[in-house]
């Protein structure tokens, strides 16, 4: 089978075992998994993230190379495509905003099929839907978790919690019971979306071919996070007040490890810590990278406003003077104006036909090579 995802899966299982067995076997290691590792992970995350942003910002933007996704702004009576070919700062802002909150480019996605000797396209909306579901669910989950890191819990967080648990799903049978506490949709959507994103990497041949271990690993890890979270909330249970005491201890620097926090909590927290620490060194940095993408974040008024290249340097050019020196006699003979009068020297008289195929460089092309000169 595919080594790349098997190894990623093994890695996540190993992480699970480390945390679970660690906490079960050595209770003192709760300080490690509950306090120390989360701090280290957060520091690595913040420092790594900023370092990456700075390293991108240190690279120059020599040319304005926006992808124009619509009609340019040119003649007054031609309607420009303001958002897809943004010529002003505010239009770029809207383009970026739509890109970030609606994945506008991905929405264009189509699937190509060869049918009866023709290239055809059909709407391919699933990737867009899956990606959108994944990111929004993840964001909602993250935002909801502020209830563990704030006291008192701010009203917006409470509002999101209420919205998220809007649907009451109280299933009650003799052997299964969920619904109390209220079911958060975001968690289930996250789990479903992450599963979909994984399955398409397995079942779509092309996507499988390009997928690396670093594509599977975060999916498994996020699956693990969502799964442990859901288990903890609905099935295995932990003392929520105690869990919050631990997390509040982290953000208020008054650390405590209450006794009645179950092992699954530490697994959950450990997974999150690993994700945080892994984040800046992985493709997950697309979160920051999208803001730096020159094909999206630049204005398209490139002929109206000059973009400055910070490292623009003079290059060797073949000046007109050199050109005229090469061809003066022929130019005079053809009646073309020249800047300098001819010097009394014989010129190469060979009559050259333009070369259709460049395999045969022109006779005299090499010997006429003049020492390139610095541009003024």
């Amino acid at each position: 089978m595919n080594k790349r995802y098997i190894l990623s899966l093994i890695a996540v299982v190993v992480l699970f075992l480390i945390a679970y067995l660690g906490v079960e076997a050595v209770p003192a290691s709760k300080w490690l998994f509950g306090i120390l590792i989360p701090y280290v992970a957060l520091i690595v995350f913040v420092a790594g993230f900023i370092r990456r942003l700075l390293s991108w910002s240190r690279s120059a933007v020599p040319f304005a190379i926006p992808t124009t996704g619509g009609q340019q702004k040119s003649l007054k009576w031609i309607k420009p495509s303001t958002i897809d070919s943004p010529s002003s700062k505010s239009a770029v802002f809207i383009r970026m905003l739509l890109e970030i909150v609606t994945f506008r480019s991905l929405f264009r996605n189509t699937r190509m099929k060869l049918k009866e000797g023709r290239v055809t396209y059909q709407l391919e909306i699933f990737l867009w839907v899956g990606a959108l579901a994944f990111h929004y669910a993840f964001f909602t989950v993250l935002f909801r978790h502020l209830r563990f890191f704030t006291h008192p819990t701010p009203l917006p967080v409470q509002l999101v919690e209420n919205l998220d648990s809007f649907f009451r799903m109280e299933i009650m049978q003799d052997f299964i019971q969920i619904g109390v506490p209220g079911v958060y949709l975001s968690g289930l959507v996250l789990l479903a979306a992450v599963t979909y994103l994984f399955l398409r990497r397995i079942f779509i041949g092309n996507v499988k071919y390009i997928s690396l271990a670093s594509d599977y690993f975060p999916l498994f890890l996020i699956f693990g996070i969502a799964f442990t979270g859901i288990m903890m909330r609905y099935v295995l249970k932990t003392d929520v007040a105690a869990a919050k005491e631990l997390t509040m201890g982290l953000v208020t620097f008054r650390w405590s490890i209450p006794g009645n926090v179950s092992s699954i909590f530490f697994v959950h927290l450990f997974f999150v810590s690993v994700l945080l620490a892994y984040f800046p060194f992985s493709k997950l940095m697309h979160l920051g990278g999208i803001f730096f993408s020159p094909t999206r974040n630049m204005r398209t008024d490139t002929r109206a406003v000059r973009h400055v290249n910070p490292w623009n340097y003079p290059v060797n050019v073949h000046t007109y003077e050199e050109y005229e020196d090469d061809f003066r006699d022929k130019m005079i003979e053809a009646g073309l104006p020249v800047d300098k009068m001819p010097e009394p020297q014989e010129a190469s008289a060979e009559d050259e036909e333009p070369a259709a195929k460049p395999e045969e460089p022109e006779a005299g092309a090499a010997d006429a090579a003049t020492a390139p000169e610095e541009k003024e």
């Binding site: 790349r4 990456r52 991108w56 690279s59 120059a60 020599p62 040319f63 190379i65 124009t68 996704g69 619509g70 702004k73 040119s74 003649l75 009576w77 031609i78 010529s87 991905l106 996605n109 060869l114 023709r118 290239v119 990606a131 779509i204 041949g205 092309n206 996507v207 071919y209 390009i210 997928s211 690396l212 670093s214 493709k283 697309h286 990278g289 999208i290 993408s293 020159p294 094909t295 398209t300 490139t302 002929r303 109206a304 406003v305 000059r306 290249n309 490292w311 623009n312 290059v315 050019v317 073949h318 007109y320 022929k330 053809a334 104006p337 050259e352 070369a355 259709a356 460089p361 092309a365």
Partner: protein, 550 residues
């Protein structure tokens, strides 16, 4: 090409199922029909490019410098610092695969390494190994690998199977532009003297003679004179183009392909008629230049530096001649360079004036800094103000569609200007299906210097999506003419059409303008610019009228 498969064979052979072997374990095959010939050492020498030697990409030994790996590594590093695009695009791809089936070369060849994401991974794999710690640590399992001969050959193979059309960048949720990656990759290859002859020899020609085809000044003038002869026969009026004229209002620069080969030549004749008309009627003074006699820029397909060296001629010539502003002809990558690079590289053009059309009074504020106007913008403005005397009926036998060239589409946003001109110069216009036009347009299959003869199989494969869309409008509306605003298109699309969609011909937009334009004092126009009898053409068109719906 005798060993070119037939259209049916090619179509039958395309499979979009990747092999089960890991892509890193599939060595690149440098194959005749796909690969282009290696650059001529004389051209490299003339340009001062490194490692000029006679070599062939089909050889095992490419005669590289001893320390070539170090050269690549250092070149890579330098470009990561110089180009944020490169660095960010190396880091943020999530391999979602949205770009995969957007590439015409992938669609046409089915080769998984022609998926834009994988083309970029060819470089990313080396980036991870050389520039990231995690990548080096995890190695192959995480898609990292050291640079070696096999990798280099893979780069060569697939970086010259990308036409830098940017279609993938439109669909990428992060705007990752494979053109940008190909540009960097080719720059790196050029550090080792690895370029294809179809690029480097035109570049050398352009450097010395002013144009890719190596047309010397007197020959350039001769060719336009020849067009004047033709035009005199066709219209009864002889345009007298001006060359290197100091103090002219406007410098006109267009790709040399249009003065050299059909059907581009008819577009050049269209320009000449237009300028003649404007000079006679409004006194507009336009000059051609034999020094800046190339609008195109194959340097763009070599390196940023080479692009700048060739492009410098436009401003230099405009300054020397003392014109007010520059007008640019129909060309694809030429306009990407002008629109997004020229002013930055060789500007500021403060010796020129804000381009104003003296006939209509329109100020082209969108070109306020670069001071160069696209002829489609210029002509559209003239027509809008009713300044041209047009008789579109001479194009009545044509059922026209329009091929948006990649660069004016996704590197400029020129869509409605040429369509406006087409609609005003001919009666029947049908756009191709929406997934294949405007910003989603498909490459002709031969862009970015890949329009050689030896890679015909690649070109025909890459042109499949475009041809397929043409076929749709041919079958639906009886389209028999594809207009375009690109010299490479005019050079390569006739081959593509005869391969996939016979009966469809190719024209420049200004050939349509030329045919429709009435010149003062002309005799009765019985022929089009191709010297074909209009009566006959219209007869044939009416024969087929019945089978098409409108």
């Amino acid at each position: 090409m005798s060993d070119l498969p037939t259209a049916e064979e090619m179509l039958g052979n395309v499979k979009h199922r990747p092999p089960s072997t890991d892509w890193m374990d599939v060595p690149a095959e440098i194959r005749r029909g796909i690969a282009c010939y290696a650059g001529n050492p004389k051209s490299l020498e003339l340009l001062g490019h490194p490692n000029p030697r006679t070599w062939s990409c089909f050889d095992d030994d490419w005669q590289l410098p001893e320390n070539w790996q170090q050269i690549i590594h250092e070149g890579f590093k330098e470009r990561l610092e110089k180009f944020r695009s490169f660095k960010v695009f190396m880091d943020i791809c999530v391999r979602c695969g949205a770009c995969a089936d957007k590439c015409h070369y992938f669609i046409g060849t089915g080769d998984p390494k022609n998926m834009p994401v994988l083309r970029a991974e060819l470089l990313r794999s080396v980036y991870r190994n050389d520039f990231t710690r995690v990548g080096k640590l995890l190695g192959k399992i995480n898609g990292a690998r050291p640079m070696n001969y096999e990798v280099l050959k893979e780069w060569w193979s697939y970086l010259f199977q990308c036409s830098e059309c940017r279609r993938c960048s439109l669909f990428c949720p992060y705007g990752i532009d494979t053109a940008e990656i190909t540009i960097m990759g080719r720059e790196l290859l050029n550090l080792l003297g690895l370029n294809i002859d179809w690029i480097v020899t035109p570049v050398a020609n352009c450097y010395r003679t002013g144009n890719h085809l190596g047309i010397q000044p007197h020959a350039f003038k001769d060719m336009l004179d020849f067009f004047s002869d033709d035009l005199e026969e066709i219209t009864g009026i002889r345009p007298e183009p001006q060359f290197n004229k100091k103090g002219a209002d406007i410098l006109f620069v267009t790709p040399s392909g249009d003065v050299f080969a059909d059907p581009g030549t008819y577009t050049a004749m269209g320009y000449m008629m237009l300028f003649h008309f404007l000079q006679e009627k409004y006194g507009l003074d336009v000059t051609w230049s034999t020094y800046a006699s190339e609008g195109g820029n194959f340097g763009f397909f070599t390196s940023h530096e080479t692009m700048k060296r060739l492009n410098a001629k436009m401003y230099a010539e405009a300054r020397r001649l003392g014109v007010k502003w520059i007008l640019g002809g129909e060309c694809g990558h030429m306009w990407r360079v002008i629109h997004q690079y020229m002013d930055t590289m060789n500007g500021p053009a403060d010796f020129l004036e804000m381009p104003v059309n003296p006939i209509t009074g329109t100020a082209f504020t969108n070109a306020a800094s670069t001071k160069m106007v696209h002829i489609a913008e210029f002509t559209a403005d003239l027509i809008k103000h009713g300044k041209l005397d047009l008789d579109p009926s001479r194009n009545d036998h044509l059922k026209v569609t329009f091929h948006d060239s990649c660069n004016p589409a996704r590197g400029m946003g020129l869509f409605d200007e040429p369509r406006y001109v087409i609609n005003k110069t001919c009666k029947h216009f049908y756009d191709m299906p929406e997934n294949s036009i405007r910003e989603q347009t498909f490459c002709c299959g031969s862009g970015s210097g890949l329009n050689a003869g030896e890679d015909m199989e690649l070109r025909m494969a890459g042109g499949l999506p475009r041809a397929s869309a043409v076929k749709t409008v041919r079958d639906r509306h009886g389209v028999n003419m594809m207009a375009c605003v690109c010299a490479i298109d005019r050079a390569v699309l006739p081959d593509l059409m005869s391969y996939w969609v016979p009966e469809v011909d190719v024209t420049g937009v200004h050939e349509l303008v030329g045919n429709a334009l009435n010149l003062a004092g002309q005799h009765e126009r019985t022929m089009n610019l191709r010297s074909e009898e209009l009566a006959e053409l219209q007869g044939t068109a009416e024969d087929t009228e019945g089978q098409t719906d409108e």
